[in-house]
């Protein structure tokens, strides 16, 4: 059976931690599911994007096909996902 896979592009610290390049095929029906799968398949990423409660860290933005997404945003086969630090700080 074929499963839907999105393409997650990692940069910077996340890319370094995950290893094996910047692009990763990850399964998940929603953004949060996909991020949980990403963290579990790349153990070094655990806790970097989702906290212990499974909540997306406050100053992280997730984009699906260039549009900012929410944790419950649906993800489809071939969608392009980016995980980026938000514009914040001082």
């Amino acid at each position: 059976m074929l499963v839907d896979m999105a393409i997650v592009r990692l940069r910077g610290q996340l890319e370094k931690l995950a290893g094996s390049g910047s692009q990763h095929e990850v399964q998940g029906a929603t953004v949060n599911e996909l991020l949980a799968t990403l963290e579990s398949t790349h153990g070094a990423l655990e806790g970097w994007i989702l906290d212990e409660r499974g909540v997306l860290r406050r100053h992280i933005n997730v984009f699906v096909n260039g549009e900012i997404a929410q944790p419950d945003t649906a993800v489809s086969d071939g969608d392009r996902i980016e995980i980026l630090p938000a514009i914040s700080g001082g």
């Binding site: 610290q13 931690l17 070094a44 655990e46 806790g47 970097w48 994007i49 906290d51 212990e52 409660r53 499974g54 909540v55 860290r57 406050r58 100053h59 992280i60 630090p85 938000a86 914040s88 700080g89």
Partner: protein, 353 residues
């Protein structure tokens, strides 16, 4: 040459210099990220930094060479799938033989490592303590900020939590009990004080040469214990204010303590004078030490981890930093002071490497 590890709101600064003159900034790390605490474990030489990334969350990093990469430690997290997340690591302390490390954090949690800080385990007995619902965070959070091991016996610890008082264990953290007798919380109604456990301890230190003795800076009060933290007596008489945060002891003298009192109302150095107060008789008398420190128009805020010592006796070195980015040091146990650095970002912690 003395090395200082300075955690700031904008990263870790490593300063080196000969005591008595300005130190040089020799390295930086974690540029732009809050470094809440940094220390060097003396046996291994490994350096640790507690970094609270606004993006990626709190983490302990370590390196064996300040010129090499830093590695993230593992296990510094609360149980997955629970209803709480780790907010910050406040302090990292090593046992005197280097066999164990402890890290304290928010929300009122303790981690332990037995492999020189590469992996850490949550202390579940404290995390799941039945009184936890009555613990109350202060404005800085619910923090384990002071960890005082017993020299030669890493199974005996005293902790301080803001605002959940003093905690003691004699069995390596399998069980915990309060050590609050004698501490008076003036910020609570009279009727509530006797049974209060939401006690806002600001700092706790153990005398190395007499481990049953501890000194404690409270949220309004300075205390000493001579029975390993079971009970406390007020020793604030003679100080300009009983409010403050950091405490440093001279390892050679169990009757010694150094404090930097601040005004209760605004938490800055009172009257615009920067003074370190010293006792050499266990708190019976306090002496102001200010030679070389700013004595007018200086309203400094010195946070609880921003005062540290190294050496002992007449050669005790003392260093403290302020949120203004100024740092001062003494190479003669506080008798005279010099400026270490003047233009750092807001300083959160100072430790001698």
């Amino acid at each position: 040459m003395t090395e200082l590890l300075v955690g700031t709101r904008k990263g870790l600064f490593v300063l080196e210099g000969e005591p008595g003159a300005n130190f040089a900034i020799t390295r930086r790390a974690f540029e732009g990220e809050p470094v809440d605490y940094a220390m060097r474990e003396p046996h291994s030489g490994r350096v640790f930094a507690a970094v609270t990334s606004p993006f990626w969350g709190p983490r302990i990093w370590f390196t064996d060479d300040l010129d090499d990469d830093w590695q993230p430690a593992t296990g510094v997290a609360l149980p997955k799938g629970g209803d709480q997340a780790l907010k910050r690591i406040w302090v990292i302390v090593a046992s005197d033989d280097g066999s164990r490390l402890w890290a304290g954090g928010d929300p009122g949690v303790l981690f332990e490592s037995r492999d020189c800080g590469a992996t850490w385990q949550l202390n579940h007995a404290l995390f799941e303590h039945p009184t936890r619902p009555r613990w109350r965070p202060d404005s800085g959070g619910l923090s384990v900020h002071s960890i005082a091991p017993w020299p030669g016996d890493p199974g005996r610890l005293a902790l301080a939590i803001s605002a959940a008082g003093v905690w003691l264990t004699d069995d390596g953290g399998a069980t915990w009990r309060h050590g609050n007798a004698g501490i008076v919380a003036d910020y609570l109604p009279q009727e509530a004080r006797a049974s209060a456990i939401d006690l806002c301890v600001h700092h706790l230190e153990r005398a190395q040469g007499r481990p049953e003795r501890l000194f404690l800076q409270f949220h309004g009060g300075v205390y000493r214990s001579d029975d390993a933290g079971e009970s406390w007596q007020d020793i604030a008489a003679g100080l300009p204010s009983d409010f403050g945060f950091p405490v440093v002891l001279d390892p050679a003298d169990p009757d010694s303590a150094y404090l930097i009192p601040v005004a209760t109302a605004d938490r800055v150095t009172p009257g615009g004078r920067v003074l370190v107060w010293e006792t050499r008789d266990a708190g019976a008398n306090w002496i102001a030490r200010g030679e070389g420190l700013p004595q007018s128009d200086a309203y400094l805020q010195v946070l609880r981890q921003s005062f540290a010592g190294a050496g002992d006796g007449d050669e005790l070195q003392l260093y403290f930093g302020a949120t203004s980015g100024e740092m001062f040091g003494s190479r003669d146990a506080g008798a005279t002071w010099f400026t270490v650095a003047s233009r750092l970002p807001a300083i959160a912690s100072v430790r001698v490497g």
